[in-house]
Symmetry: D2
Subunit: 395 residues, 4 copies
Amino acid sequence: MSRNRGVVYVAPGKVEVRDIDDAKLQAPDGRRIEHAVILKVISTNICGSDQHMVRGRTTAAPGLVLGHEITGEVIEKGCDVEMLEIGDIVSVPFNVACGRCRTCKSQDTGVCLTVNPERAGGAYGYVDMGGWIGGQARYVTVPYADFNLLKLPDRDRALAKIRDLTMLSDILPTGFHGAMMAGVGVGSTVYVAGAGPVGLAAAASARILGAAVVMIGDFNPDRLAHAAKVGFEPIDLSKSDRLGDLVAQVIGTDEVDSAIDAVGFEARGHAGGEQPAIVLNQMMEITRAAGSIGIPGLYVTEDPGAVDKAAQQGSLSLRFGLGWAKAQSFHTGQTPVLKYNRQLMQAILHDRLPIADIVNARVIKLDDAPQGYETFDQGAATKFVLDPHDMLAAA
Amino acid sequence: MSRNRGVVYVAPGKVEVRDIDDAKLQAPDGRRIEHAVILKVISTNICGSDQHMVRGRTTAAPGLVLGHEITGEVIEKGCDVEMLEIGDIVSVPFNVACGRCRTCKSQDTGVCLTVNPERAGGAYGYVDMGGWIGGQARYVTVPYADFNLLKLPDRDRALAKIRDLTMLSDILPTGFHGAMMAGVGVGSTVYVAGAGPVGLAAAASARILGAAVVMIGDFNPDRLAHAAKVGFEPIDLSKSDRLGDLVAQVIGTDEVDSAIDAVGFEARGHAGGEQPAIVLNQMMEITRAAGSIGIPGLYVTEDPGAVDKAAQQGSLSLRFGLGWAKAQSFHTGQTPVLKYNRQLMQAILHDRLPIADIVNARVIKLDDAPQGYETFDQGAATKFVLDPHDMLAAA
Amino acid sequence: MSRNRGVVYVAPGKVEVRDIDDAKLQAPDGRRIEHAVILKVISTNICGSDQHMVRGRTTAAPGLVLGHEITGEVIEKGCDVEMLEIGDIVSVPFNVACGRCRTCKSQDTGVCLTVNPERAGGAYGYVDMGGWIGGQARYVTVPYADFNLLKLPDRDRALAKIRDLTMLSDILPTGFHGAMMAGVGVGSTVYVAGAGPVGLAAAASARILGAAVVMIGDFNPDRLAHAAKVGFEPIDLSKSDRLGDLVAQVIGTDEVDSAIDAVGFEARGHAGGEQPAIVLNQMMEITRAAGSIGIPGLYVTEDPGAVDKAAQQGSLSLRFGLGWAKAQSFHTGQTPVLKYNRQLMQAILHDRLPIADIVNARVIKLDDAPQGYETFDQGAATKFVLDPHDMLAAA
Amino acid sequence: MSRNRGVVYVAPGKVEVRDIDDAKLQAPDGRRIEHAVILKVISTNICGSDQHMVRGRTTAAPGLVLGHEITGEVIEKGCDVEMLEIGDIVSVPFNVACGRCRTCKSQDTGVCLTVNPERAGGAYGYVDMGGWIGGQARYVTVPYADFNLLKLPDRDRALAKIRDLTMLSDILPTGFHGAMMAGVGVGSTVYVAGAGPVGLAAAASARILGAAVVMIGDFNPDRLAHAAKVGFEPIDLSKSDRLGDLVAQVIGTDEVDSAIDAVGFEARGHAGGEQPAIVLNQMMEITRAAGSIGIPGLYVTEDPGAVDKAAQQGSLSLRFGLGWAKAQSFHTGQTPVLKYNRQLMQAILHDRLPIADIVNARVIKLDDAPQGYETFDQGAATKFVLDPHDMLAAA
């Protein structure tokens, strides 16, 4: 009898919490792997990218166990795990990475060459990312554990900040990667597209990197209100279809030093309909000459639910000539979490990065995950954290 | 009576060599400028980007004096020119740059903020680039001379290598910028799209940066033959519409470390017609995960002659989702020549970079410029160098 | 009759405020320079490096007008000043730089090749730095004004923050350069040697760069108390001769990610005597393997007052083998202020960097400069700002 | 009965080839390690740093099996080796690195934190580097094999270039690291101190990085003659005690862009005696302002055989004030071979880097190692490659 239980994608618009297989020291193909550990999951968050699957915008098959934002405790380990002990509390980067291939050795763990036979890059609980079982569950397996896992300090310090530390598995590094790719530095003026959790994490990252002003644009009034509350300049996109004008109202000029796209392919235009290229085109307009544009927001190679045939194949109509005339650069891709998580953990532990409050973290029971998905999908200004063993409630 | 004479754009498809105004120490708006010098032009090259104007693919007005690839001798200087003397032989970066604005101070001289009231970035003899008079002429004015000009060594050494050194004003740094943006380093496998002069310069740059293999793709058999002759691996694009297969025939794998687009918006597809996005889309396919794509080839904000309405506004249908999935980055824009020309000059002077032979430089008289334009437009594997004072013929 | 008046070095230990020559649009050699402006000095600070001269630790000749930390208003300009207008409020980088030589073009304005015939690098009011007249005065000349000067926003905003903005001319960028050279980033643990103004500026810089913890070491209890008051971790060097132990008391380990030497050659050891190499040797001990050490503190090529013959020639006994075994890197030199001041200004204007409070700025009259020098020399935890036109008193 | 045999340090000045223990899948502390492989050694080179031990300049104990430059064939592997197969031909980086600690994840494998209990950084067959058994032997164990080993292409291609590929384990990346740390780029003027194998590898690296001129300084006429023969500019240090003058004879100016110290702590002065700081001090003199100095040459924390007490503790008298005045940076430490070896392998395989000829590789039998050590110690312009299984003789 399995003691495991997790969030399962059942059909477009529907997830359920079900009993699932026990976590084992094995790879998706069934091989035993001595470099793996099994974790008791302490916290695991619902991510905007999970929503793409749940909305049916991907080819994810029913039965997939969701979840790639995981923090846990080591309860079992293979014989080639040398740097972790049973009982260690660890943060799991959402990327599955081997630490042994060319890209991993260059810190590009987001496009590991070996953990996914289909393409570069693996992840837990995600379609087309290698078949690694998701971690919105009570237990989960993590391969290449010595390489992948970030050990948190002792249990007490970890649990005391667990609402913040749980963001190390994905959205905080993802926002940070966006800010780094956009070249944010001390004194920068920054525009972040999208006031969801990744947008807020990007804004928080820009701030700790020393940005002078951080603006966040969205249509959602609740999210804008929350962004303002935690210290960012809200840009209400419903006010004008000329983003530069809105930016100029804040900083006196219609161009910023750095822009971050935290929206991705499900972008909407001013008129309301889906316009997958609109955010990228706006970034080119409002970013200064010689500036960089960071694009952590997800763009896909196939989108069955897209508005037109081009977008269904991942093709977008970009005003590339504008970007070229401004000598801009464009930086994309899954975040290599390992490149950043240790330093971000330090910032959290030393009270410099109150990310839980910034993204408005809300802890719910594992069994309440379906409601969490639904509320989040409706645009709640909230980041849901699942608590499979009732350890956070107490913390 | 003027002693000046230059190449003038007359109508689509037509240039003429005419008497033009004397060069003066003044800006396009007529102000006297003490930071300028007047050069006797020693050599000045015809550039592929001149062709865009001459073909009528821009809004250039008849009467425009062409030419932005200039090497010359200082014959007059303003009172605030301190570091140059009459008689100095100098290379002129094609970008007009002030050296005093924010972007110039950061070495982004390709998007100087002050020399062009319309947009960031200025150039000589080019539409929309600030009205600076072109240098395919006997004499030309260079503003901010201490900042802009690269002094060549003594006259004898300069003239001895003038066919190479003349490439410092544009195509060599432009090719080099492409290679740098693409992250070319020691041992890299590199693909260059386009076997014209900029493509060859990019290939030469990749080689001196230590690339293991440099491939160049084109449809033009003469250009491919020349590329092979100077040591690069030719890729005949007419052989297949799957570039990866052609690449694999050379290096055993269908992805390269670095790719450089030296074609730009007038790209053609395998079927023959113009397909402005095809090169960019191919770059995403054949560049490895986490790789960089350098795009020195020109993309424009407006193209009256484009195949469709989107392209007329500089919009291209890009498979951006593919690039995102591979975590690629895209680097664009006019080359900041000053960032590279001094070091490239050193390489030339020390016999490490035989760029004249690589691009197949051919010296012709100023008065023969119209034939040069025509031959070049037909795809000759040649870089034309004009010799307004018959100084190279002798060299 | 001159209307100018400035602080003059008279003899070791002695400065006086005297009438001095009017500022003119001319270079130290008497040539008229059209790229210069004359400033009415709004604020000008006393710097620790001035003390080296005043203490007689250099070869500075009596009569030298001191002062290289200058903020002012443009009251006259040469004919080749294009980007500044009479009335503009500007910050002056302490480095005199031409903006036209190789090092300036690479942003290394601290070692400009043309403004000082003796060696690379120029400054105002400093021995061996090119003879440019100092700015602890009512009026001062700034050459290459378009390049050197940072225009502050309108007069009202500038004067409202003048106590902060006056730090842009030297110590804030110098501290920031120290932090950048030391590789400080988000989450870093940082040790700063020296709690004087540059040390505090380095600490403030580390904080805005995202450091998790910033420690400052000194022997001076007032300075340590002030450092603690503005939020840094004070390290009382009198408590132990093992710096690692003191560091471990704060962060639990005896090594930091980044170390910054804000002391320089007049360093003292635990026993009390001058030990010019002690800070550098401590940095190697407490910096982690593969770490960087930033050394904005001044080391000199000749020190007539040094404790031994080796130090008199600028030679120090360094435990270089230790640094090598730890694969450390060492970064030195005058700060290139222009590389950083624009962004730091933005941070100040947007209330992110309260540098005046952090360094404990205190405004005094120009005529009170001698007392300022004396008090500062005694180790006061204060940064003195001179106010030659009584404009700050009012602000 | 052991089938293994290796080069053993017996006493100062003496090595012997002896039977040694069989290679096993175990760590120095005797633990079985499933991440290890056993290699049949194909080639293994004698290194200048071995000489430090053999000369008695370290605390190496008699009985130590020497050798850290190893290329071999996988003949046995632990159960957690996933990416290598029996029969693969591999290059071994001299650094032992775990691939799982903070520094390894940042590509700083030269200072791995876990493979050596004494300090950061491990190596095979070297005193104080973790006790890993040396590879101047017939068989050797390599831990963390998937991470550490660089797989060479198929056996035929590997053996065809084995004299070059054998340099990937240490001296080629070490020279390359020196050039990278020194900031060598296209068009650089470069000075390399020391014409031994690492100096030649640094020079070769500078050349493939695009350097315009590469000078190598030494006292040894044979080494200088060899350096000249393979295309570098020899600098005969016996001709003058003013290095700048010698440099100026080659390039017309007494400063270079980049300098590389390939000598280390056993440096000698013009007068003949050992002067451990002389090379570092010369580097500061001849490197340009704002230049970088790469220091791959070994400096030690303890040197029992040093000329004075300070040097015995690794302290050197450096003219640090000079370096500071020139705003130089200094980069030290063991090379992280993994950062470079894959790309250098590509360059070798594509005939761009004939390193064997450049360092004058000479293959000898394993049993002839003692003569190799002796000849090399006398300053032969030769790099000795041991051939334990007579596989190279045939190649």
